[in-house]
């Protein structure tokens, strides 16, 4: 179903704008307040030089009469922006934090509602980046937008003010700016190739380290850690060399940038000085001119401002991708209370990547029985397991549990009725015990240990440093151990139907038999669907469904099917 939802024809830069608009609406009050604060602050900043200049003139002229008022005004224009800046800082940070949290919760909800099919569109790692990183970037948009008016008003006001004091000052500034920028640009050199070389060597060291880490046991046993360190670090001098070069390049460009503003200011001051000597300007005007020139160079900051907006927009576009993930819809029906867990597939078809991986599957799994599904890799076994518990919906056909179509069931009813165990389970829930308890409901501790015992996990869990309370991150688990935790989780949540998707592949044959014996004896789920690779597993099931190329090639007991050479070939290596 997810596969049939049409995608946007072409991603456009505007895809993220609805997200930004929603974020803006969410923080509308704060954004407006912030805009008022920044505008007021910029207004004060634009007034201050003129007032300061006039005050200085009055002071120099020793006209004690008016000076008091102007001194007061200057003091106010110095202190009020300080308060406004503090408010600005607080509002900017809290608005961004609030918006970030809101976007993150929304994205988390979108991802969870889309379920496992989300990663078919966006890789898991990319989802994390969007959920954690892009939300934070997109969330800066309201605060940045609020500051835009001020960011434009500052430099513009500076230039206008220069012109008001003396038109020649504005001319000097406007003529000097592009000239100087051009002059400096001529010296700028590309630095991207040093960065590329630096990153390449960094990658080389990381690659060597990764190799050595894969051989950690060999290295520890051979006592060759020192030699390995040398081998891994061999490219380090090259890294250092490129690093030094990067600093030199950066120093050059910083030095160039650092000259621009002071030189422009000096140019304006020179013009102001000449006018001063002709008595066309006062000392206070000159002081104001130098401040306005500094404000006018804030154009560079405006560029940074626009850049930030572009970044937010890009991040928002990536969030739009998350928003567009189709959620899995659930129905409103419940299962009949007395159902035995009968699973029925009718005319089921599934497509992956435009190719049919299951075709015309009709299958009945009577309540209380075990069905093994076998087939070569790529025959559609895992897709069948996905469909049977509605991790995905079939592209055609219908699947019912105790007579109710799976897609009509409520979320709670469906997930409580079906339990899954996988070949490579994701261990969520924090601790080892939490992993087993993880699910739609939390079973009591006694049920957790009972399930662990049935899955033959209890033994090794007790050997962990803190037993069931050991954090998963602190418990290096082998593939077989992880599988047993996944089985225990399924056992602890068993409802009507238990689906094991290759969930015992890393267990030795003895453990596997112990687990399946326990499964039959102790686990409540009456009906079981087991994707299997081993003939012994198939042999213990009531019936076997043999898949070949997405079709049902045979259905019967293992002993019966074993007569078919094609069936036997499935298990051959």
């Amino acid at each position: 179903m997810a596969a049939t939802v049409p995608r946007h024809a072409a991603p456009s830069a505007r895809d993220g704008d609805p997200i930004l608009r929603a974020a803006l609406r969410h923080s509308a009050g704060r954004t407006l307040a912030l805009a008022a604060v920044t505008t007021a602050s910029t207004g004060a900043a634009l007034l201050l030089p003129a007032v300061l200049g006039h005050t200085l003139d009055l002071l120099l002229a020793r006209r004690a009469g008016d000076t008091g008022r102007w001194l007061l005004l200057s003091t106010a224009l110095i202190c009020v922006p300080a308060v406004l800046d503090a408010l600005d800082e607080l509002l900017t940070a809290t608005t961004t934090a609030r918006t970030t949290a809101w976007l993150r919760r929304r994205a988390l909800g979108d991802i969870l509602a889309a379920g496992p099919r989300a990663t078919a569109r966006i890789r898991a790692g990319d989802l994390v980046t969007r959920l954690v990183g892009n939300t934070a970037h997109a969330a800066t948009a309201p605060a940045t937008l609020a500051g835009t008016a001020a960011a434009v008003a500052g430099p513009l006001g500076g230039i206008v003010a220069l012109g008001v004091i003396d038109p020649w000052l504005a001319v000097a500034f406007l003529a000097g700016a592009p000239l100087l920028a051009l002059l400096l640009r001529a010296f700028a050199r590309a630095s991207t190739d040093t960065l590329t070389a630096y990153q390449r060597i960094q990658g080389d060291i990381a690659g060597r380290l990764l190799e050595a880490l894969r051989g950690a046991r060999t290295i520890a046993a051979a006592g060759t850690a020192g030699r390995e360190r040398e081998r891994v670090l061999r490219p380090l001098p090259g890294l250092s060399e490129h690093g030094h070069r990067m600093w030199r390049v950066q120093g050059r460009s910083t030095a160039q940038a650092a000259t621009l503003v002071p030189l422009l200011q000096i140019a304006v001051l020179a013009v102001a000085g000449l006018q001063l000597s002709r008595d066309r300007l006062s000392v206070g005007d000159l002081l104001a001119a130098s401040r306005y020139a500094a404000l006018a160079t804030g154009v560079g900051m405006l560029v940074g401002h626009l850049n930030a907006l572009v970044h937010s927009r890009t991040a928002a576009r990536r969030l739009a991708g998350v928003r567009a993930l189709p959620p899995v819809p659930y129905g409103t029906r419940r299962l009949p209370a007395d159902g035995a867990g009968t699973l029925r597939l009718r005319g089921v078809r599934a497509e992956r990547g435009g190719r049919a991986v299951l075709r015309g599957i009709d299958l009945d799994l009577p309540g209380g029985t075990t069905l093994a599904v076998v087939g070569r890799s790529g025959s559609g076994k895992s897709v069948l397991a996905e469909l049977a518990g509605r991790l995905a919906d079939p592209d055609a056909g219908e699947i019912t549990l105790d007579g109710v179509p799976l897609r009509d069931l409520t979320h709670k009813e469906l997930r409580r009725a079906v339990a899954y165990a996988f070949a490579r389970p994701a261990l969520l829930g924090g601790t080892v015990g939490g992993t087993i308890a993880f699910g739609s409901f939390t079973p009591p501790p006694a049920a957790v240990t009972a399930a662990a015992r049935a899955a033959r996990a209890d033994d090794f869990v007790r050997k962990l440093p803190a037993g069931y309370d050991t954090a998963c991150a602190d418990a290096p688990l082998s593939g077989g151990e992880a599988q047993r935790l996944g089985l225990a989780r399924a056992f602890a949540h068993a409802g009507r139907l238990l689906i094991l998707d290759d969930a015992t592949s890393s267990l030795d044959s003895v453990t596997e038999r112990q687990v399946t014996d326990a499964l039959h004896r102790h686990v409540a789920a009456p009906t079981r669907l087991i994707i299997a690779h081993r003939p012994s597993t198939a042999a213990r099931a009531d019936r076997v469904a043999w898949l070949d190329g997405g079709r049902l090639a045979g259905l019967g007991t293992h002993a019966h099917l074993w007569r078919e050479p094609g069936y036997r070939a499935v298990f051959g290596e």
């Binding site: 954690v132 060291i205 600093w247 120093g251």
Partner: protein, 609 residues
């Protein structure tokens, strides 16, 4: 602790030189700051206000020259910063690599590429900001002093007050910053687990649980961000007091100053110092130190965290006392944690020189632990492990035993380098090729193009990697060979050939952690591990005595797999009509699912900008 490390780092001679160079070029830069106000004052007093515009322009030209010189100085300071930041990065890389090799910690790779770079950049940034402030302040204060010493009395008190306020808030601010970064990291880790495990979340119907759990981390992020924002206000206040406020007393004192011989030019110059030099320098100091400082501390703390207790075997070789059995365990008890149940309890075991022992048991029972104890990689809680008569963990162990684990180590280099890895002495090609031939790797050597051919680890299959590791171990001078499922990716015939080769090494003894039943059949002694209880004996004895052993060998029991016919090299995979399990007595692929601790600022998340 980081402070102590830091000063020790800066005290090293080359770093002291870089610091001195940094100071010297900063003086050039400070000269520009000094000129900013001073030249302006002189341009007014001696030039524009004195009716000598040419002199005024000349002073401004001098200021422009100082700008150019100062910029040159700025450019040069970057080289000196490189002289400090690059060695710091080198030291951190060395440390991370050493610790990673010591702890076999997979998370180290992202630490290497990510956190080390954060440390390098923030360190350099802090250095630049702090240096810039100190020298700008010095230049501006010197200028004020030259213009009129009394100006200092007006300007310095608020500056000092503001700086004191800033310094006082540094520590609480750093704590908020750290809490914020920690919250972001926790969210990153949780999101990682959730996005990678969406299938399991949906299958378990645990969307609500996850939404609540991860949502709580989102809220925690909001809380810490708000706390940080509130404390950041103090920064702005400090900045206002130190940077903006001094203008007010200066204006108030102006009439008095003018009465006491301070010129109008000096006043304008003083204002220029305040607004154009000190305020911007303060701004970068306050914003730089406030955030980067705590970021650097957090990253450095993580990067320089002490490694776990030393565990590696010293590689030094010393003469081996002759005599004694090849491997001897006396009352060995071992477990993985204080509260954990032991994996082995009171195990006694003797393997005579030339003996061949197979270790079998269900997966996870502790076979690899036993191999690690024999190799001396782990030390027993109780009891004693001796190899070739010497304690397993005594120096020179590498000369007495060689361990080949399941995950074969192959590194980028030539095939020859890989094969000679365990030999310190020069080994002729003939001997190397003979070893490769003995373990069945001759065809692989030919395919790769001989010993001098470069070897790309990712291009080898798992089985080929194991062949390389086996040939390498065969060349090792150590008499005792421990194969810990070292041939599990080879087919049974190839595995049997390799085992035979090792058993036939002159004076060689062999311990095989068995992957297939065949290994046990070929051994002259078998150890069956069944939880803490173990049984040892010959194949026939154990068949009679141990139900578990019968199970593992596929003999008897309810399994329709039936008996196995692995007579030294015959594939035990079920033949037609026989639904066997391929004779696998243990699991494949002990994949370590160690969760890589999410590193700081991964994916640009922690910055939150």
């Amino acid at each position: 602790m980081i402070l102590r490390h830091g000063t020790a780092f800066l005290r090293q001679p080359p770093h002291r030189r870089a610091l001195a160079g940094l100071a010297a070029w900063s003086v050039v830069e400070a000269a520009q700051t000094f000129t900013t106000g001073y030249a302006l004052a002189r341009a007014l007093d001696d030039g524009f206000l004195a009716g000598r515009p040419a002199a005024g322009l000349a002073w401004l030209a001098a200021a422009a020259v100082a700008v150019a010189a100062g910029a040159y100085g700025t450019g040069r300071t970057y080289r000196q910063v490189a002289g400090l930041a690059e060695p710091l990065r080198d030291a951190l890389v060395r440390r991370v690599v050493a610790r990673a090799l010591h702890d076999a910690d997979g998370a180290a790779v992202s630490r290497l590429t990510h956190q080390v770079e954060i440390a390098r950049d923030t360190f350099a940034g802090l250095l630049m900001v702090a240096r810039s402030f100190v020298f700008t302040a010095a230049g501006a204060l010197a200028g004020l002093f030259l213009l009129a010493p009394v100006l200092l009395a007006v300007v310095v008190p608020p500056l000092v007050l503001g700086l004191a306020l800033f310094v006082l808030t540094l520590r609480p601010l750093a704590r908020r910053q750290e809490a914020y970064l920690a919250a972001d990291e926790a969210l990153s880790q949780s999101s990682d687990a959730v996005c990678a495990g969406l299938r399991d979340v949906t299958a378990g119907g645990a969307e609500r649980v996850v939404e609540a759990g991860t949502g709580a981390l989102v809220d925690e992020g909001l809380r810490t961000a708000n706390a940080l924002a509130r404390w950041s206000v103090t920064r702005v206040v400090a900045l206002a007091v130190a940077g903006r406020l001094p203008v007010v007393p200066l204006l108030l004192a102006t009439p008095w100053l003018l009465d006491h011989g301070v010129t109008p030019g000096a006043l304008v110059g003083a204002l220029a110092y305040l607004t154009q030099s000190l305020l911007p320098a303060l701004q970068s100091l306050v914003h730089g130190l406030g955030t980067s400082g705590s970021r650097l501390v957090v990253v450095l703390r993580r990067l320089t965290a002490p490694a776990s207790a030393p565990d590696a075997v010293p590689p030094a070789s010393c003469p081996v006392p002759p005599g004694g059995p090849a491997v001897e365990l006396r009352g060995v008890t071992f477990g993985y944690g204080r509260h954990a149940e032991p994996v082995l309890r009171g195990l006694d075991l003797t393997l005579p020189v030339g003996g061949r022992l197979a270790v079998v048991g269900p997966s996870g029972v502790g076979k690899s632990t036993l191999a690690a104890l024999v190799a001396g990689l782990l030390g027993p809680w109780e009891g004693e492990v001796r190899v070739g008569g010497a304690p397993a963990r005594a120096p020179g162990a590498a000369a007495r035993r060689v361990l080949i684990p399941q995950e074969a180590y192959v590194f980028s280099g030539t095939l020859g380098e890989n094969l000679r890895y365990l030999r310190d002495d020069p080994v002729g090609d003939r001997e190397v090729l003979a070893a490769a031939d003995a373990v069945g790797a001759a065809a692989l050597v030919r395919r790769l193009g001989g010993l001098a051919a470069p070897l790309v680890p990712d291009e080898l299959s798992a089985g080929e990697r194991q062949l390389v590791a086996l040939a390498r171990a065969y060349l090792s001078p150590a008499p005792v060979v421990i194969l810990d499922e070292a041939a599990c990716h080879l087919d049974p015939a190839a595995e049997a050939r390799a085992e035979r080769a090792f058993a036939a090494r002159p004076g060689g003894s062999l311990v095989v952690v068995a992957h297939r039943a065949g290994s046990a059949l070929r051994a002259d002694r078998v150890l069956v591990m069944d939880g803490p209880g173990t049984a040892a004996g010959t194949h026939a004895e154990l068949l009679a005595r141990s139900a578990l052993y019968r199970d593992l060998m596929g003999a008897g029991g309810s399994d329709p797999a039936g008996a196995l016919g692995d007579a030294d090299g015959v594939d035990a995979v079920a033949g037609p009509g026989l639904a066997g399990d391929g004779g696998h007595v243990v699991a494949h692929g002990a994949v370590r699912q160690v969760q890589a601790a999410r590193d700081l600022a991964d994916g640009g998340a922690a910055g939150g900008q």
